[in-house]
């Protein structure tokens, strides 16, 4: 089950080696359809026993016990991964950040330091995940979106210089489009891959819980000629089950 590749994996290019290395992934969700499950799926992929990748998780939304419980159902033991140093869980609910530019700069320097330490012991991919950006904005910058964008820019430099991946979750429907239209767009522009979780156009359903649209912008790459996922836009539906997620194209039988 772990080795099988589903539609989300294909859209992210996970059938290629190290596809997310050096990439920024933005997950956008809304009140009707939460995108947390995408984050959990990616956590499970990163911490899979078939890879030696590491994960730095900045938790602003929920405590460790919540993620532990969810990932256990998906077949991943977060406590073990913490002990193995594959998971660095930063509980931001406990930490107090000063709410000005120096606070978010300090947070970045800590992440940079952790990446450096991990990089000294492993050459595998390091993923930095943030759950979620809106709470980071409140906790670390006192609702200053400019500082959040500065923080994201610096995290982007980490992806290119230390070859990490950055995965962030943001709620697209909590920002008034009149006040800050550019803020959400800045985040979309920064991302190489945008995953949008939204409800079906027809509303709630028992057997289909929503749809995902994945835009894989990619970049000019040295892998010329490979069937890569640059400039691909894919849309498919999903159903959240007890121990996993099913993905399928509209109207197709689920696989």
């Amino acid at each position: 089950m772990d080795r099988s590749v589903n539609l989300l994996d294909l859209a992210l290019g996970l059938d290629e080696p190290s596809p997310l290395r050096g990439k920024v992934v933005l997950i956008e969700d809304c009140v009707e359809t939460s995108g947390s499950f995408v984050l959990h799926q990616m956590m499970k992929r990163v911490l899979s026993p078939h890879s030696s990748d590491s994960l730095i998780f900045l938790a602003f939304a929920r405590p460790f016990s919540h993620y532990d419980r969810v990932l256990r159902k998906l077949g991943c033991n977060l406590s073990t991964q913490k002990t193995n140093n594959r998971l660095v869980f930063v509980d931001m609910l406990m930490m107090k950040c000063s709410d000005n530019e120096s606070g978010v700069a300090k947070l970045f320097r800590e992440i940079q330091g952790t990446v450096g330490k991990l990089r000294s012991v492993t050459n595998s991919n390091i993923t930095v995940m943030v759950d979620d950006m809106s709470l980071l904005e409140i906790a670390a910058t006192n609702s200053n979106s400019d500082h959040v964008l500065d923080f994201l820019h610096y995290c982007h430099t980490l992806t290119s210089e230390s070859n990490c991946s950055l995965v962030t979750l943001n709620h697209e429907d909590i920002y008034s489009s009149m006040e800050r239209p550019a803020y959400l767009l800045q985040m979309v522009c920064l991302a190489d891959i945008v995953i949008k979780a939204e409800p079906l156009a027809s509303g709630l359903a028992n057997d289909v819980h929503g749809q995902l649209t994945v835009v894989n912008k990619g970049m000019i790459s040295s892998k010329s000629g490979k069937g890569s996922s640059r400039n691909k836009l894919q849309n498919f539906q999903f159903r959240i089950k007890e121990n996993g997620i099913e993905y399928f194209y509209p109207g197709c039988s689920r696989n």
Binding site: E101, A105, F108, R109, Q112, G116, D146, L149, D150, H153, Y154, T157, S160, E161, S162, E172, S177, P181, A182, L184, L185, Q186, V188, C189, V194, K196, A201, S202, T213, V215, K217, G218, M219, I220, S221, S222, K223, S224, G225, K226, S228, R230, N231, K232, L233, N235, P250, G251
Partner: protein, 375 residues
């Protein structure tokens, strides 16, 4: 046609004129300004190395990607840059624009320290200007030899400084005697229209990338545009607008297509692309909204209920009461929401004038309307 922009940048401006300047405009749905910049960078670098350009050096100011990204790209195109290269200098405003990092991280290129200079304070535009000129003079000296300037993106500059200051920086660069040509890119969805307009005023050329199915709704739907583009993502139209000296404007267009190796340009194909683009505007639902040819023909054959048969003559139904023509006296037509009013005429005694709810309501509307169908 993208070649023509490159040639204008390569040839520079004439003596006594401000340097030609290009704005490359992208949107969230067509985010390929970086690819266009790389295309121009590669071409300019080749021409400088071959001695075919008016400028003898290039200063690259990076905001949105690391210097190593561009050096790696040039290497792929067969242009090798080493620490001893005298024709290029990179001003790194990407790695640490706000001075958050105390020491350079191990990943930063340390080879060729004069090749790549770290610039730590992007909000100080005067200092940025001096750094650019200094980097240029390092290559070409203080005399009359000129150099080109490439700024990968002004989006970050506009976040940290006001529009007039950024405008001032670009104009100062254009006015400098040793700057031969200059280009920058901008994402128009991230800024107000006045910012885009201001930058267009100070450029002599404007190139904009447009997806095949643009929305006319403006910036608020920029995100929706991205998700609407669908299989055309990576393709679109590339429009170039040249401002000629006498005031005339020349506009050229071609198509672009982006792949792993970069951006490719081709002449505009036939009308079929427009039709294909329009088709993708249909919303994604799970039922068919369009008619096939056969369905269209069948639809045209259907005989409609007679009030819509469009003979040209009005339909009248005799129902034993007075006809519609008699019923309509000098009374002005009432709006459809009005209740019927029984009006007793003063002079005649006992006359009821009945105003129907809507003018076009048939006299027999209270009967089963399906009785009229001729099936």
């Amino acid at each position: 046609m993208a070649d023509s922009i490159f040639r204008k940048l390569r040839d520079g401006g004439e003596e006594g004129e401000l340097a030609p300047a290009l704005t490359i405009e992208e949107t969230v749905a067509s985010p390929f300004a970086l690819d266009v910049s790389c295309y121009l960078l590669a071409n300019l670098s080749s021409s400088i190395l071959a001695g075919k350009s008016k400028s003898e050096g290039l200063v690259l100011v990076t905001f949105s990607r690391s210097p190593s990204f561009y050096l790696q790209f040039l290497k792929q195109k067969g242009i090798f840059v080493s620490s001893s290269s005298k024709w290029i200098r990179v001003l790194d405003c990407y790695t640490d624009p706000l001075g958050w990092i105390d020491q350079p991280s191990p990943g930063v290129i340390t080879e060729g320290s004069s090749l790549i200079k770290l610039h730590k304070c992007v909000s100080d535009l005067k200092r940025l200007f001096s750094s650019i000129i200094e980097a240029g003079r390092e290559m070409v000296g203080d005399g009359k030899t000129r150099f080109s300037v490439a700024i990968d993106s002004v989006n970050e500059l506009l976040r940290h400084s006001s529009m007039p200051l950024v405008s001032g920086l670009l104009t100062d660069l254009r006015s400098h005697a040793q700057v031969s040509s200059l280009f920058w890119s901008l994402n128009t969805d991230l800024h107000q229209e006045k910012v885009t307009n201001a930058l267009e005023y100070i450029s002599t050329m404007k190139a904009n990338l447009e997806p095949f199915c643009p929305s006319s709704d403006g910036k608020r739907n920029a995100l929706e545009n991205l998700f609407l583009v669908h299989q055309d993502f990576g393709k679109g139209r590339f429009h170039i607008r040249f401002k000629l000296r006498k005031g005339r404007v020349r506009v050229m267009s071609e198509e672009y297509h982006v792949d792993q190796t970069g951006i490719n340009f081709s002449p505009i194909s036939s009308v079929e692309t427009i039709i294909a683009a329009t088709k993708s505007l249909i919303p994604k639902v799970h039922f068919n909204l369009q008619l096939s040819e056969k369905e269209r023909v069948e639809k045209e054959k259907v005989v409609l209920p007679f009030e819509h048969q469009d003979h040209g003559k009005s339909t009248e139904i005799y129902d034993g009461r007075r006809t519609l023509a008699d019923g309509k006296t000098e009374a002005t037509p009432l709006s459809s929401g009005e209740l019927q009013a029984d009006v007793v005429s003063s002079g005649k005694g006992g006359e009821i004038i009945y105003f129907r709810d809507s003018d076009d309501e048939h006299p027999d509307s209270d009967e089963d309307p399906d009785d009229d169908l001729d099936i």
